[in-house]
Symmetry: C2
Subunit: 362 residues, 2 copies
């Protein structure tokens, strides 16, 4: 068993912004909130899958909404724990362990806040191995688990319990409520026993983002040692280097949607690139040529610091390095690709693994 | 104690379409469903406020959504009782009595179906004394009662429990869910004990709509005896007689909104009239001159049969008689007018009682 303290949070926030592929909520706000919670309530126990008992009740804690809204509307500590307390009332028992639904962005940090406040341990695992924009894009859904009861809260004090037919209905109903609640909410879903959790989650992902954060904190920009360490650990690729020449973002259907155009620099001089996102980066292209697509991961890093830049914080003129990583194998199954592949998001091409696309490119 | 049987349902449906002021859901569909439920489960006990015990738990049962959708999407029997069963689970006790939230339209009949299926008595009262389009437009809201827990269901099997901050948040959250659920849902709210219910509801309104239905069934068109009896009972007025010359209806924000233009006939020959609605009729005018506005009641009757015509069923060319009635005094308080008066619906004029407007007209 290990503990998450202030230094750990610092690293997790940085690493989570990489696996968040530009989304998962703004990790910088989440970091401040998590550090505050740890100062107030003490460090949080982080337990591995091996340490999880079969009969322990585990539940995911997350924020829902467009990152555009989350930046302006910082959730209260109450909002973070209200769904957990409601869930305990509905189930008539205490929750034993909390876990992140996604290891990307602010949603790696929200469960830390809830865990600190409630004195609960947190599981070193998540249900995406990255961030995705929609509620059904979780391994629990791929594996056929029931998300009910889904509990929600907002900062106005409204709370809700949903019993949706499946993860797709969770997405539809919770998203409609989140929009009505002003664009952001906090959610608990998939309250499952340890024995089931073990069969479905992606293990050790908080340790992974902590390690990635450590590499990036150590990063020597010129030599890009930290980035190289990260790429090695994640079997990743440099996609390109360039300057953001155009950025278009809009709030639509409760999501931040948009695209960025980039002009290549250094080795990529003279080339043009584009990135398309829905909360998270979904597609990266060189001209009309596909470089990487969902469910594989795309991350935009500041070329100066190596630090990840969320879709919200991408600005005209910023020099960036764009990297890509293979997703977890669970997303490469037919159901995984159907659930979170490019066609689900309306793109008219089939998924190809980033390794294959990179091999073709060389 | 009395019983609601097939004949009673026939009359209630007709009377409820009058007090529904064009909305409250389509009573003709509700009638068929209620008759089917009574055939299957037997007549429903109708109890007066005097017969209600202080410690009996009463809950409202209703349908939410745009009438446009309800006509196309007939709710299942399961959809009618799912919110009631969910409420009983949440409260950990049985409900003793059901009641209509509004006495207008299909929502007079939905609780009959739930009561028949569950073997529960129904209270001869409602919380509007008419139909209104939004959830907070109830006497319980005017009197400061908490609507929570609000339970909802749809025909797909999704169920929801809401704990909104107040009736306005019930409206916002339940409406957003209803739209996402395909435009209609079933709802239980305001689970209150008999002693509280007695202080807030409008009594004897089911008996009232039953009586109105009886008058209209007996109506001798030429002499308009039934209509006259109804006007006398409700202290109502003939507003005008005419032909629908234009009708505009749209689905917007989960409501059916629109207006009708009418050309006067007989005594009103040469005059033009208009009616504006949001599910229910809100405003009636002669030219630019106000004849009646919400919270007072406006009903459109077929000039041939005297039967009420819902906003959904108003058609070009239909000859109609338009009548108006004073609302219950609860709606004429400052809070009543603020909640359901013309300015709430975006009209730029103050509420004036229909009696005053009629006196000015003469």
């Amino acid at each position: 068993m290990r503990y998450i303290d202030e230094q750990t949070v610092e690293k997790i926030a940085l690493g989570a912004a990489v696996l968040g592929t530009g989304g998962g909520g703004d990790p910088y706000i989440g970091k401040l909130m998590a550090i505050e919670a740890i100062r107030k309530y003490g460090p949080v126990k982080l337990i591995s899958l091996d340490e999880l008992e079969d009969d322990q009740l585990v539940v995911t804690v997350s924020g829902m909404g467009a990152p555009t809204v989350a930046i302006e509307k910082i959730p209260s500590e109450h909002e973070m724990t209200a769904p957990l307390e409601m869930l305990e009332r509905v189930l008539g028992r205490k929750v034993d362990v909390v876990m992140p639904i996604e290891v990307g962005g602010i949603n790696s940090l929200f469960p830390i806040i809830a865990a600190a406040k409630k004195g609960l341990p947190m599981l070193d695992a998540d249900a995406m191995g990255r961030a995705f924009p929609e509620a059904q894009m979780v391994t629990f859904y791929l594996d056929g688990f029931d998300p009910s009861p889904v509990t929600m809260a907002d900062e106005k004090g409204n709370t809700v319990v949903l019993y949706p037919q499946d993860g797709v209905w969770t997405e539809r109903l919770a998203r409609a409520l989140t929009i009505e609640m002003g664009g952001s909410s906090s959610v608990c879903e998939y309250s499952l026993f340890g024995k089931d959790v073990k069969t479905s989650v992606i293990p050790d992902t908080l340790s992974l983002v902590e390690r990635i954060g450590e590499y990036l904190l150590d990063n020597q920009v010129k030599e890009q040692i930290g980035i190289n360490k990260m790429l090695k650990e994640l079997n990743g690729y440099f996609l390109f280097e360039g300057k953001i020449s155009d950025i278009e973002r809009r709030l639509s259907g409760g999501f931040t949607r948009g695209s960025a155009k980039l002009e290549g620099s250094r080795n990529d001089q003279g080339k043009t690139f584009s990135i398309y996102f829905q909360n998270e980066h979904l597609v990266a292209k060189e001209g009309e040529h596909l470089l990487c697509s969902t469910p594989d991961l795309i991350a935009v890093l500041d070329a100066e610091t190596g630090f990840p830049i969320t879709t919200e914080r991408m600005k005209y003129g910023t020099r960036v390095v764009v990297v890509a990583f293979p997703c977890h194998d669970k997303w490469r199954t037919p159901k995984g690709i159907e659930t979170a592949g490019p066609r689900y998001f309306g793109y008219d091409f089939d998924y190809q693994p980033v390794e294959v696309l990179q091999k073709e490119r060389r």
